[in-house]
Symmetry: C2
Subunit: 505 residues, 2 copies
């Protein structure tokens, strides 16, 4: 059926179109049914909504999501026809029943994910089946390959391509700001695609965006990497492993991260940019994604096995995730801390040791040096990391001459002071993130937290524990209120524990 488009300038977050009751009856669809919509060669699936007004017979309401995808303008002619439930729904059911999927079945599912042929319910069922039923290594390998093959890929004609990835879960993890320029300065190619924050206070892409443009296409990523050796781009602006973006939209509201999806999504992104040597950062500890070193080792083993199957030379670093990395959380604050460390060739131990350790791991994997950490430290202290970072910022359209003290931080500030004297026994990741987000991060770039005292540091009564930064005073108030009620930095005095009836001791 051919219809004339009426653009509905609303972002609805899914692919839906609106038909008049008469047209819906004529092609025999009811509310929620699936149709295929095409404009010229561009085509996608969408679910049907029924208008009781607004959309006249012969017209079709197109929300912005579909309009952008198919480049439809008001009045354009589009063609629709009803489509059946795709076969991949049966494969999802097979997985729900505990079956093992074939390579072809997994490819079909991932293709349907990418082409938006699955409803939100069906996609949720797929993600949850992987969470509750699981996949074996064959299936994970096929899913990884399917995710690579259904998106754009980069092939470099020459050079050694490397990459790093953190599984996340620890705040302030700005290590790519040091790793990428250090590795690039050594002559390796590191086309790093990073995430924006979903539940955290700043993703590496949000942080880098303070200094340069991160919305780069695959062609730009390749070009910049070939020119200066490295890049820090937002993966979401590319079409690399696009299935992952859609799957994350389901995982996030449920706060789940099924192991097969975690492994496949990380490895697909590394595989798609042609990386040969890959370092994976697995933070463990109270408040991180994984609590114990044992869990970290198990995941590391899975990454190594999947790397082997995909022909990637891969190693994992199990790192301390029990408190934030460095002293800052939030886009501008993290950019500031990273640039300042490069400028001054010193900084927070947790931040520098981790960054140079991971850069060193990459050097060892790629055979550049048997003692990678030493090489990384040498490049960093020589100033070559800073110099390379400035080149990368310039190449990404930023001001390569920017100094850390020029980075604008939120002007609304509040310091939470210690009410006791003692030592810091805990910095609670989840509270740190919550406070930074209440203060406006990651949307308000200048919002975030500076941590004055970390674990083991001694604090006197009245000394600041954290300073909250915000751009808007009402957001600062919300963050303050929460921080006072839920202290993120725990100080222990001489009495380490107090029982209800401690006088009896």
């Amino acid at each position: 059926m051919k219809l004339s488009a009426s653009i509905l300038p609303i972002k609805v977050g899914r692919y839906s179109v609106v038909l008049s009751r008469d047209d819906a009856d004529e092609i025999g669809v009811v509310e929620g049914d699936r149709i295929r919509i095409s404009k010229g060669k561009a085509t996608t699936s969408a679910s049907v909504q029924i208008a009781t007004g607004l959309i006249a017979r012969g017209r079709i309401g197109i929300y912005q999501d579909v309009a952008e995808e198919l480049e439809i303008q008001d009045g354009d002619e589009v063609e629709i026809y009803p489509v059946a439930r795709p076969p991949s729904v049966e494969f999802i059911r097979k997985k729900l029943e505990g079956g093992k999927l074939s390579k072809e079945e997994i490819y079909e599912i991932i293709e349907d994910v990418v082409e938006n042929n699955l409803t939100e319910i069906e996609l949720t069922a797929f993600v949850l089946s992987n969470y509750l039923v699981g996949m074996d290594f064959d299936e994970i390998e096929w899913m990884t390959r399917a995710m690579i093959d259904t998106g754009e890929t980069i092939e470099f004609e020459k050079g050694i391509v490397v990459d790093k990835h953190s599984i996340g879960g620890v705040p302030g993890n700005k290590v790519s700001l040091i790793i990428v320029p250090t590795v690039a300065a050594a002559g390796l190619l590191i086309p790093k695609t990073a995430s924006r924050a979903i539940t955290s206070a700043s993703g590496t892409a949000d942080t880098m965006e303070v200094l340069a443009d991160v919305n780069l296409s695959v062609d730009e990523i390749k070009e910049i990497t070939q020119k200066v050796g490295g890049v820090i781009a937002w993966g979401g602006a590319t079409n690399i492993a696009p299935a992952d973006d859609r799957i994350i939209r389901v995982e996030n509201p449920l706060s789940i991260d099924p192991r097969p999806q975690l492994l496949a999504s990380v490895m697909a992104k590394k595989g798609a940019v042609g990386a040969r040597h890959v370092a994976i950062d697995i933070p463990v500890g109270s408040g991180a994604k994984l609590e114990s070193v044992e869990e970290g080792r198990k995941l590391a083993g899975e990454f190594v096995e999947l790397g082997r199957r995909l022909g990637l030379n891969l190693a994992c670093a199990i790192t301390n995730g029990s408190q934030p990395v460095g002293r800052t959380i939030g886009p501008a604050l993290e950019a500031w801390e990273g640039l300042k460390a490069l400028e001054e060739k010193k900084g927070s131990t947790s931040f520098l040791e981790k960054s140079l350790g991971l850069a060193g791991l990459i050097f060892e994997l790629s055979g550049l040096s048997p003692n990678g950490y030493e090489l990384a430290k040498e490049i960093f202290t020589s100033g070559r990391s800073l110099e390379k970072f400035r080149e990368i910022i310039s190449a990404q359209g930023g001001d390569g001459d920017v100094r850390s003290d020029e980075i604008p931080l939120g002007s609304e500030r509040f310091s939470l002071e210690s009410t006791v004297e003692g030592a810091v026994v805990d910095v609670i990741n989840s509270r740190i993130v919550k406070i930074a987000r209440l203060a406006g991060a990651p949307k308000d770039k200048g919002a975030g937290i500076y941590i004055h005292k970390k674990k083991g540091e001694v604090v006197k009564t009245g000394e600041p524990l954290i300073t909250i930064y915000a751009e808007k005073s009402w957001k600062l108030s919300n963050a303050m209120e929460f921080a006072i009620e839920n202290p993120p930095v725990i100080v222990s005095g001489m009495i380490l524990e107090r029982y209800p009836s401690y006088r009896m001791v």
Copy 2:
């Protein structure tokens, strides 16, 4: 924030509202966030969509779903405020992790289901966690009670209230048309709420609607039951166990029916109308929901245990579900077969034996007779069942004097004839349903199938196996085409099986 409503006359199948970018920024929500919207005392949750046009600042776009729920008209003032993810999402996560939910947690989840506080993703996660992780009897009992307590209930001041339920899966199951009047004729109260077809060709509510109004309120159900002893109403028009309707919207597209939900949804509906004696029909056999008698017994045991916990006197009948009940499928055809059997006091054995057997089970449960089947048969053959059915039809606003031959059946007809001589070895439920639906059932009331030959019956070459009825010729063509390619009635000649190389035998 107070906003003026702009009604968007579109049925979107979920609760969403549309804000201008400015208003969304002002209250700090982004696309997909949850808000609470109120007009006076009426209130619901909805997810936010962002308009880039169409909705001016100070206005809020209200789709028909929310407009109907809160009775909002164009220009009405409504109030919205952002709300956090409800605690029940954490309880759903607990179940995903394999935990046992408390009574309070289950009540909270079911309340949120009823109040539309859960997104489609969260609701899918709840349903799938019950499918894959399961619930123990404590949890199922609590869920049943929560489903009763979050909806309307009926209390009869006097009389013995009974009910029946079929778990479905077998086509043509029109037994309520005989059971309800027979039971009511014996002086029991049977306020039967029935379903419409979801994936079948006709639900009991669709069938009854051919003869009378089934869109009854809880008050009308009570009033009619008190007056004539029985009713056959569409449960979806009431607010009885409303959580079930919302849960079905997720189960249906995935073709799953988690055991805890099946048990709770059936028992909640029986509990809510105050039934004390309940007969459950569990069809088993190839092509039914359960394949074997053993599976049927297991489910029966679960129903009995849940009945015991809820204080219901319950028994199950495991019935033959391997072919359709009676000879007709489709709303008008089934109403015709039911009324004709009552008029003539005879009919298809599978239909009559099952109906009277279940009515008899109710008589035995309620202590009316130790030999219930005999009592049911006596009432049926005496004409009292027909007389009572006419009273029920009248009480539900239908024509109590209607005769079966006055029921309009689809005028577009096609008979599929046997190409061989032999005996019917199978009638395939799924194909019967598919053909009836292609012919237009349940939407086109006159569409459906008459089965001339059932299992074990002898057929000659050229004799009709089924007749397809339709209201529209193009739908008849679709049904014919499918039926010819996928014969629903399998006839075996003298050669029962033919191997590829049968000449070698």
